[in-house]
């Protein structure tokens, strides 16, 4: 075993989460086609390791602000698949009582401060979360997720400036999936994402975002610095979104070879290969898969069988 490798138990837990995220997203896609999941939905199939690896390095007491492409981030932070799926279906048993749908999920129990339908709107809110952690002297950090595209929003630079100026316990995790909707990142900025924080004297790291172990290891270090020394950082996870921007995007803007290349770098297959190479028996892996499959099926049934909330005129504000 490599010195930098993580323990098998932890690796198995990360694998379970990766597989849960994958199955969950596949199920969501099916339920969109079935007309069960409603509204604007953005899948993160292929990007699971960025969420699982970074959030795996957090405690429950740490805060996250996920993106609109956030299902994996919610699940990684501890969201229950049934309540999450119910929310995606607009049902009253969902995390937000069916008010929210996919793009603005909140899970207070797990210190999930909420994802946002306005791309980049999480940046200013992160300032306040980081400030409050310092004000209250909490032993926590806040992780602000972003895609590559949102780093072109002006708010991003306000956050960089303030997290640097005030030395906030904030880590920006950029899930760089190469495209902002249909536009390649390279056509939107001459600066790479990890270059952007450097002007503000913020530590900036890049990692293979499809290697859950590598993501976990670097994130663990950044989290410790954030919590112990209130040092801000940015971590850029290089990854790829297999699906379209939203559920009905046929992705005409992407070359087939590119998709094939990235599918060969499947974070789940890579984690599985690692487990087997470290002597984990395939029956243990299969058990995990079966358990997750059942859990996701149950989540789908829970969502389907739950009721829609009803509107009452007294709810007007």
């Amino acid at each position: 075993m490599d010195f930098m490798d993580i323990e098998n138990d932890l690796m198995l837990e990360l694998y379970r989460k990766l597989f849960l995220c994958r199955r969950f997203e596949e199920k969501v896609y099916q339920l969109i086609l079935d007309g069960v999941v409603l509204g604007s939905v953005h899948l993160s199939t292929g990007e699971e390791a960025a969420a699982v690896g970074t959030i795996g390095a957090l405690e429950k007491t740490d805060y996250i602000l996920p993106t609109h492409r956030g299902h994996c981030q919610h699940l990684s932070k501890g969201a229950e698949p049934d309540k999450l799926m119910a929310e995606l279906a607009g049902k009253e048993t969902g995390y937000c009582k069916g008010n929210s749908g996919s793009i603005h999920i909140f899970d207070r129990e797990n210190n999930n401060l909420g994802s946002n339908g306005i791309v980049g709107a999480q940046f200013p809110i992160t300032v306040g979360a980081g400030m409050a952690i310092k004000y209250k002297k909490l032993n926590s950090c806040v992780v602000c997720f972003t895609g590559d595209g949102a780093t072109n929003q002006g708010w991003f630079y306000e956050l960089l400036n303030l997290m640097s100026l005030w030395q906030l316990p904030v880590i920006i995790v950029c899930v760089n999936n190469l495209y902002g909707m249909g536009t390649p990142y390279s056509e939107t900025s001459l600066a790479s994402v990890n270059e952007k924080p450097r002007l503000f004297k913020i530590r900036s790291e890049v990692v293979d975002g499809n290697d859950v172990e590598a993501v976990y290891i670097i994130m663990k270090e950044l989290v410790e610095l954030a919590k112990k020394e209130s040092k801000p950082a940015l971590l850029e996870c290089l990854t790829y979104r297999w699906m379209g921007h939203s559920a009905f995007d046929q992705r005409p803007y992407r070359p087939k070879e590119e998709i094939e290349k990235w599918k060969n770098l499947d974070p789940i297959k890579r984690a599985e290969t690692k487990l087997i190479s470290r002597g984990i028996k395939s029956n243990i892996i299969n058990e995990i898969k079966e358990r997750v499959n059942n859990q996701v099926e149950e989540a789908a049934s829970f969502a389907i069988n739950s009721k829609f909330p009803e509107f009452n005129v007294s709810m007007q504000m």
Partner: protein
């Protein structure tokens, strides 16, 4: 009782609440040291509570509001100052898409316990330092809007705003900051949605808020003494929630309604009040309602132009007397 200025009364309210609750903090630009607030509202707060609780931010209004939003999700009550009401457009998303919707979108898990203080109104500073934008925010469910017209109301409404538990826009007025009211020594607060009947009357209902309530009070006094007309002047104090019952009751008595506001006529608060009165009190009206407001034009810097665009006492007198057919 003491004579207290509007700007000082707001500070008193904030400091009294800050003394009670260490979870209340202030954020804004140039509010703590040096300037201590562009209009001096936060003067001395830093000396009392320190830089930890009154936080100067760089010039980044979106992050001022963002800072308030994020901190409120972690249980802190934040009073954010936006230096001029016009600058609020820079943080429109934080107010309209975030603060207003947080409670609903999170299914009640979170709410934005923030107060956004900002001064509006024309004081000769031109189109980007003079606006009254309250009607824009009236259009957004989930926001609450207070517009005190005097020092007494300012203190009482600020006390309520801080503990309201919902996002509040607290629109102050540049020309009111140095006006004075009698303020009781003991603690008091004024609930939202509770209009103030400044003057009772029977011939016409005039609804005016913020600085326009002060001008309307003056104008009504002149109209009463010059023409013997009896005017019921109502200051709603908050536009959301709106004390419509008090307005409706008055209109049912007088049969006539005039609204006076400093924001522009088109889509203004007066439009909303008039529409509701016509929907719910039509049978009691003896004449169509009348709106007095700024003309549909950016507030000019030049005095003759500004006078033509922004309502003033003479115009209020002229338009009300024409409306009532007074000669």
């Amino acid at each position: 009782m003491r004579k207290v200025k509007y700007k000082d009364s707001i500070r008193e309210a904030m400091m009294e609440e800050m003394a009670k609750d260490t979870n209340i903090i202030l954020v804004g630009e140039d509010i703590a040291k040096g300037y201590e607030g562009c209009f001096g509202v936060t003067k001395g707060i830093c000396d009392t509570f320190g830089e930890k609780r009154i936080i100067d931010m760089p010039i980044c209004e979106a992050s001022v509001i963002g800072c308030a939003l994020g901190a409120s999700q972690l249980g802190i009550k934040v009073i954010a100052e936006i230096m001029f009401e016009d600058f609020i457009t820079v943080c429109f998303d934080g107010i309209v898409n975030q603060a207003a919707k947080l409670k609903t979108l999170s299914g009640g898990q979170y709410n934005s316990t923030i107060v956004i203080r900002t001064p509006g109104g024309s004081a000769g500073f031109g189109a980007q330092h003079s606006q009254c934008l309250e009607s824009i925010f009236m259009h957004v469910p989930g926001l609450y809007i207070a517009l005190p017209s005097n020092a007494y109301d300012a203190k009482g409404l600020m006390k309520t705003a801080i503990n309201f538990g919902e996002p509040v826009l607290f629109f102050e007025h540049q020309k009111l900051y140095n006006t004075e009211s009698d303020i009781p020594d003991e603690e008091y607060s004024i609930p939202f949605g509770c209009a103030n009947i400044i003057n009772e009357g029977k011939d016409v209902t005039v609804v005016a808020f913020s600085y326009m309530a002060l001008l309307a009070m003056d104008a009504c006094r002149d109209l009463e003494s010059d023409y013997g007309v009896s005017i019921e002047l109502i200051d709603p104090r908050t536009l959301v929630p709106l004390d419509f019952d008090t307005i409706a009751k008055s209109v049912k008595k007088t049969g006539r309604l005039v609204t006076v506001e400093e924001g522009v006529l088109r889509g203004g608060a007066g439009s909303e009040i008039v529409a509701r009165v016509e929907e719910e009190c039509f049978d009691f009206l003896d004449a169509p309602a009348k709106r007095i407001a700024a003309l549909n034009f950016p507030v000019p810097i030049s005095p003759l132009m500004e006078k033509a665009v922004v309502p003033n006492k003479d115009r209020i007198i002229k338009e009300i007397s024409e409306y009532l057919g007074l000669k």
